[in-house]
């Protein structure tokens, strides 16, 4: 038998590996999680133990004190770690772009290094740095300001800044690389023309660099909003998966994982995941609106 594939099928066969993998690892988990959000389920009893409960899981999630607590934590950490990332990365990128010439790659690589370092290694390192009695951070603060030792990991007030510092340190290099790439797309002629017109460095930064970087700022801020609201690894490992004292560093991502795997409530966790999807979508939309070009088209 001469087996031939009709030419019309070829495109579908060629894209089928992606479609199959996407269906198995992308679409199916999404739909299953949507299905689970309407079920009550004791997972160790098997799939047939599911019971349809309508919107109960959503009502539970929205009236759950720990959801609101973890949402407040998430927003705090997203702002405290996200805003400084951009406030530092942007001027740093301009500085590296203008002042370091061919050494630029080396320095941006050094800043980028934390981004590609294992989260577990980072958390272990910072766990030692933040040690109350034997950590370098407390030793340095004591030497410089004479402060008492801070119990970074066991004090609700201290654990949030500790996590925010780790997240900032890890992602500032990523944003730096984004801004460096964008800076290289701004034509040099604009700066030369501005110099001829008598514009100083600050005016050039405000009138040329910042507007030129606007699309990349939008991209970077959007990634930070999404990443900040999905924050999981750093607080999870730094607090041994518990969220620290008074769950002060428990993000929504951590809580929904714990709700499913620690507290066996997969239905509630799935409902929470979809609520968070709504929150992230809304904030991303607001970010886009905030950066929208407000100039009126003629």
């Amino acid at each position: 038998m001469n087996f031939r594939i009709p030419a019309a099928w070829a495109p579908y066969i060629l894209v089928s590996p992606f479609l199959i993998l996407f269906a198995v690892f992308g679409l199916f988990p999404l739909l299953f999680s949507l299905w689970l959000a309407f079920q009550s389920w004791e997972p160790t009893s098997g799939l047939d133990a599911m019971k349809f409960v309508g919107l109960d899981n959503f009502v539970f999630a929205l009236t759950d004190g720990w959801f609101w607590k973890s949402l407040r934590n998430t927003l705090w950490l997203a702002v405290a770690s996200g805003v400084p990332q951009h406030l530092v990365a942007l001027p740093l990128a301009v500085f590296l772009h203008q002042g370091f010439g061919r050494w630029r790659g080396l320095f941006s690589g050094a800043y980028f290094l934390p981004y590609i370092t294992s989260t577990v290694a980072i958390a272990m390192l910072f766990g030692s740095l933040f040690s109350t009695d034997y950590g370098l951070v407390n030793q340095a603060l004591h030497a410089m300001f004479g402060t008492e030792n801070i119990n970074w990991m066991r004090s609700p007030e201290a654990i949030k800044p500790a996590v925010a510092i780790v997240v900032f340190w890890r992602y500032v290099g990523f944003n730096l690389v984004l801004y460096l790439a964008a800076l290289q797309t701004i034509p040099r002629d604009l700066y030369q023309a501005a110099t001829l017109d008598g514009a100083g460095p600050w005016q050039q930064f405000l009138r040329i660099t910042l507007p030129g970087l606007k699309p990349m700022i939008l991209f970077g801020v959007t990634l930070s909003v999404i990443g900040g609201l999905q924050l999981f690894e750093e607080p999870f490992i730094l607090t041994n998966g518990k969220g620290g004292a008074d769950q002060a560093a428990m993000t929504v991502g951590m809580y929904l994982y714990r709700l499913a795997f620690d507290f066996s409530d997969f239905g509630g966790a799935s409902a929470l995941a979809w609520i968070m999807f709504g929150v992230i979508a809304a904030l991303t939309w607001l970010t886009n609106k905030a950066f929208a070009d407000r100039r009126v088209q003629p």
Partner: protein, 428 residues
């Protein structure tokens, strides 16, 4: 590409697919299941014990291949949750830590070992009573057999106690006298009484739990957080923190280990296995300085333990083999003793507890015959019923204790808030 090269490739593929299908067709599912290896899923240290047993077991059962799948503690229990929920890649034998057993036994994923096919009830009297009763599900059926337990005891630094002019009885008479002794210890030696007040709160709550009830919920699934034992535990914890008697370090963290090494923690409440952990890696340099006593106010409880269970939906062909293996893992006196010697796995098996090894001195504890003390404790531990929300309740209580200690929240308000959160979740 020419057809001459394409055709052999097609034939090759066809042959490969054909071979795979014909292979599957000639071996029945039952035969495939029987040929598949007997799998034991375990976590560290338990995996070592299981592997040791399998070496000898395979000599007696050469027709059966068997192996141990080992994962880190949390990963193992997460993987077992997933395997039971989907009934996919189920091992034949599951090792479960006590705190997870409570949760797993509330579902229907574990095999009823009280059923005639297994007859686990006949072994009821072979184990310390609380250990076997902990392995019962809501219907009263045994769903796992206990291997090791962690009889709770108070570890204390005899040298620091001597420096402070205190006696063991000053620590153990009551929880109040324990705190008073802590004040003397701190004043005269500078050592903290305990790592963290959470440990103190936990044990006072557990010690006051009425027999047969849960630590946080009564038999009608109602949270009991506003009961007097919680009030007492919170008040004592607050006092200890205000007096600066706890080091505010979490067990197993670097700071905790460092403080043990440097003699900055005077006591530690834990299972008997802690002696081995301290001797082997946490604080070997402190050998001879530690002693153990029963917990204050004659409180008896277990810190951890291991059980073996069979998933209800594992391969039926291998269930009896799995059951044989579990019996060897839990009921063989010599193996239990070997595991105790090598891994500090205190045996739940009563027969193993009668060995002369229990009468020998423990060098790390200054030659104290501590195993006798742990044996005595093990036989007095009451059964504490597990609730599905046990782990959540534990964290809610800890969070409210943090609020009391860090923000000065009034204790009655903190306990009422915890109660309200648990009422909201009790029946989920």
């Amino acid at each position: 590409m020419s057809s001459s090269t394409a055709l052999p490739r097609r034939h090759l593929l066809a042959a490969a697919f054909g071979g795979a299908f014909s292979g599957a067709a000639t071996v029945s599912p039952a035969a495939q299941a029987a040929q598949a290896p007997l799998t034991v899923a375990a976590f560290p240290l338990v995996d070592v014990i299981a592997k040791d047993l399998l070496k000898g077991w395979q000599q007696r059962h050469p027709e059966v291949r068997a192996h141990v799948i080992s994962r880190q503690y949390d990963d193992h229990h997460t993987a077992m949750t997933t395997a039971l929920s989907t009934s996919g890649h189920l091992p034949d034998v599951i090792a479960l830590e006590t705190s997870y057993l409570g949760r797993f036994s509330l579902g229907t994923g574990l095999e009823d070992l009280s059923a005639p096919a297994f007859g686990a009830e006949r072994f009821r009297g072979s184990f310390v009573p609380f250990a076997i009763d902990t392995a019962r599900n809501r219907q009263g059926a045994i769903v796992a057999l206990p291997s090791d337990i962690g009889p709770g005891s108070l570890f204390y630094r005899a040298d620091l106690l001597g420096q402070a002019g205190l006696k063991e009885a000053d620590l153990t008479r009551s929880w109040e006298s324990y705190v008073e002794a802590g004040i003397q210890l701190k004043a005269r030696t500078g050592a903290y009484l305990i790592g963290d007040v959470r440990l103190l709160k936990d044990i006072i709550v557990r010690g006051g739990t009425p027999a047969g009830e849960g630590q946080f919920f009564d038999n009608q699934q109602r949270p009991q957080i506003t009961s007097p034992r919680f009030v007492r535990a919170f008040e004592l914890a607050k006092k200890v923190r205000q007096l600066g008697l706890d080091a505010r370090v979490e067990v197993w963290q670097n700071d905790w280990a460092e403080m043990l090494k440097r003699g900055r923690l005077a006591t530690e409440m834990s299972g008997g296995w802690m002696a081995g952990q301290m001797a082997n890696w946490v604080a070997p340099g402190t050998a001879g300085k530690w002693r153990v006593a029963q917990l204050p106010e004659n409180t008896y409880c277990s810190y951890g333990g291991t059980y073996y269970a069979i998933p209800r939906r594992s391969a039926p062909e291998r269930k009896q083999l799995a059951w044989q293996l579990i019996q060897e893992l839990t009921l063989d006196r010599q193996r239990q003793l070997d595991a105790f010697r090598s891994q500090d796995a205190f045996p739940a098996l009563l027969a193993a507890q009668e060995d002369v090894f229990f009468d020998q001195p423990v060098p790390f504890l200054g030659g104290q015959k501590a195993r006798q003390l742990w044996r005595d404790a093990a036989r007095r531990i009451p059964v504490v019923k597990m609730h599905k929300q046990h782990k959540f309740a534990d964290e809610v209580i800890n969070a409210e204790l943090d609020n009391v200690l860090e923000y000065g929240k009034p204790i009655p308000q903190a306990l009422q808030d915890a109660q309200a959160l648990l009422v909201h979740r009790a029946n989920r």
